[in-house]
């Protein structure tokens, strides 16, 4: 296992450019999550790494060696596919041992290594089973074992968990993570589930329309999104544009903000998470509070299990807040978001690629 370094990579289909100047480094033994919306080019990037797609420009290094010119079979990067891509005419052991057989390793040695891998992925005793007789979670583990068998320099996983149901997904997620810690392989995992990325990865890279928006630890990405897109994508589902146009505010609703970075003169975008909103049904107007303060009324509330998700209307805006009780419609409420939970970015029309700062520190 070695360090993977992607330098200024450009990839496309025909004349259509999909990835623009991607630069990314995955350190040895690190698990990097590649997170992005559907169609942003995640699979394309993995295919380019594996050599299934020609690259237009740039370079890929594994350790010190460049591999951009090598065909797929010489790159020693293996992939775990979303569809598993197991070979149905082979047994579990044959699937896992295939890469070793290709390397002309002795049958005896293959058997011991396959046995060891089956132990690691907790499939002991299933070696003679047909892969078509396995459950989804078991198949995914066979696919993982197969990809790890040849001890690749880098392991890439393309949405390995998206075909599993919610419960199995949680289990396999932890297994992959534990395995990664135990074996210490360098890996790049693609997902469009932000929670999955936060839980599994050492670092997260956010991809948007073929560009990397931000790379950082899960904490940094979550608490200090570098752009409006990242904030939105990482679950900051409330959004407003400041200053608020008078037509957007109704008679009974009030939005006030006190924050060092926000003034009436500067246009900006404000994002915050519904779990950072504290909602109170009493309308005590306290001017000394810092941060964002909103007066509005309840539109509807949805039961989430642990608490309720309350939709609050304030003029033309709708905000989401978490609250422990159900609230009847049209209740007047006050929302408060502390200053540190506000993510503030310059208005995109003024500075689209130069976000004001990381999240605001007050």
């Amino acid at each position: 296992m070695t360090r993977l370094h992607i330098d200024n990579l450009q990839v496309g289909y025909g004349n259509k450019r999909i990835l623009n100047n991607i630069s990314l480094t995955v350190e040895q033994g690190e698990m990097m999550a590649l997170l992005g919306p559907s169609g942003c080019g995640k699979t394309t990037l993995l295919n380019a790494l594996c050599g299934f797609l020609p690259i237009k420009q740039g370079d890929i290094f594994v350790g010190q060696r460049t591999i951009s010119h090598l065909p797929a079979e010489k790159r020693n990067i293996t992939m775990v596919f979303q569809s598993y891509a197991l070979w149905p005419h082979m047994t579990v052991a044959q699937n896992i041992g295939y890469g070793l057989k290709v390397q002309k390793i002795k049958q005896k040695e293959i058997q011991t290594r396959v046995k060891a891998l089956l132990d690691i992925v907790k499939l002991t005793g299933l070696e003679e089973e047909k892969v078509t007789a396995l459950s989804g979670g078991q198949r995914q583990r066979v696919a993982l074992a197969r990809a790890l068998a040849i001890r690749p320099d880098v392991l890439v996983l393309d949405e390995p968990l998206s075909n599993l149901d919610a419960k199995v997904r949680l289990a396999v997620r932890h297994e992959i993570k534990a395995l990664q810690k135990q074996l210490g392989f360098t890996s790049l995992i693609v997902t469009h589930d932000q929670e999955e990325a936060l839980v599994m990865a050492d670092r997260v890279a956010i991809l948007n329309q073929g560009n990397i928006e931000q790379v950082g630890t899960p904490e940094a990405i979550y608490h200090a999104p570098a752009s409006a897109f990242v904030a939105d994508f990482m679950g900051a589902d409330n959004h407003l544009t400041w200053p608020i146009h008078p037509s957007m505010v109704g008679d009974s609703s009030v939005i006030t903000i006190s924050h060092t970075d926000v003034s009436q003169q500067r246009q900006c975008q404000i994002y915050f998470r519904s779990e950072d909103v504290s909602l109170s049904p009493r309308l005590t107007d306290d001017d000394k509070i810092s941060g964002l303060m909103i007066l509005g009324e309840v539109m509807h509330s949805a039961f989430l299990g642990h608490d309720y998700r309350i939709s609050v209307r304030c003029g033309a805006h709708t905000f989401q807040a978490n609250y422990q009780d159900n609230l009847p419609e049209a209740t007047s409420v006050r929302l408060h978001v502390p200053a540190h939970a506000l993510h503030i970015f310059d208005h995109p029309s003024e500075a689209s690629n130069a976000p004001l700062s990381n999240a605001v520190s007050v």
Binding site: G99, T132, A147
Partner: protein
């Protein structure tokens, strides 16, 4: 319920009637005619057929087997090129070209091959004109080799179509998975693709066999007379002697040859199923 069943039977009656009238009845009649004389069972027609044409039967079997083998090799190669080749534009042209013979009837193909393969045909003329050969060295490909060439040329499109269709239906990720484990394209063909498309390959070859056994124009136009294929002998028996009995006996023999191959294929595919299930 009972009535419903009866109604369903009525629904299939027209089709069943057509099949039995125009297919089963003639088939049974010709089998019957092959083994009877004036209503009494006899093996004399079969005896006579073997006595006169056993060489032709062997010739037929050899021609068909060789053609089928060449067919398998060529159509697997073409389909594999189409599926695995990294050169997409060449593949596009190949994908178009190989289908052309599908739309050319056997008799036209036979005529084409006759003018192409003859001693002073198109192919030899081209060789002579390009200085690769002198007119003295030219040889005629009419005869057994011409028959094989024509059969393979004509059936290639059909079997390649079936085989490359089956290959295209495989998940691309299966091939990619093998590639990034280090397998070469050839290895992927034999280890990953062929085992999975074996049933389609079998169907393509069995159907091609049956077609070759039944084509009359090719042995008549490209064959050199003796030995020839069973289908030509049957036509000869009927045309020259009005001898339907021996013709039917020959038909029975070619039917049995096909049945033998089909049985072999079915047994093989059942065995594979048993192994995989």
């Amino acid at each position: 319920m009972q009535q419903k069943e009866a109604q369903k039977l009525w629904l299939i009656a027209p089709a069943a009637l057509m099949v039995s009238l125009f297919f089963l009845y003639p088939l049974c009649f010709s089998l019957y005619s092959a083994v009877t004389l004036d209503g009494a069972l006899t093996l004399s027609h079969l005896d006579k057929a073997f006595e006169l044409y056993s060489k032709d039967m062997l010739f037929t079997v050899i021609i068909v087997l060789v053609s089928v083998m060449l067919l398998a090799i060529l159509s697997i190669s073409i389909a594999a090129l189409i599926t695995l080749s990294p050169f997409r534009s060449v593949v596009g042209i190949l994908g178009f070209l190989y289908r052309l013979p599908l739309f050319i009837p056997f008799i036209v193909a036979a005529q084409m091959m006759r003018t192409f393969l003859a001693k002073n045909g198109l192919m030899n003329n081209a060789f002579v004109a390009s200085g690769l050969m002198t007119p003295m060295d030219t040889i005629s490909f009419l005869g057994w080799s011409g028959i094989i060439i024509t059969f393979v040329w004509k059936q290639l499109a059909f079997s390649t179509l079936l085989i490359s269709g089956a290959m295209a239906a495989l998940d691309d990720a299966q091939i990619r998975a093998a590639r990034n484990l280090g397998a070469s394209r050839l290895r992927i063909l034999f280890g990953i693709i062929l085992p999975q498309i074996a049933p389609s390959l079998g169907v393509a070859l069995v159907l091609s066999t049956v077609t070759m056994m039944s084509v009359l124009s090719v042995p008549m136009m490209i064959g050199t007379g003796t030995p020839t294929m069973i289908s030509a002998d049957m036509a000869f028996r009927v045309d020259s002697y009005g001898d339907y009995h021996v013709a039917n006996a020959l038909g029975l023999v070619s039917y049995l040859i096909c049945a033998g191959l089909a049985w072999f294929y079915l047994r093989q595919s059942l065995k594979d199923k048993g192994a995989t299930a």
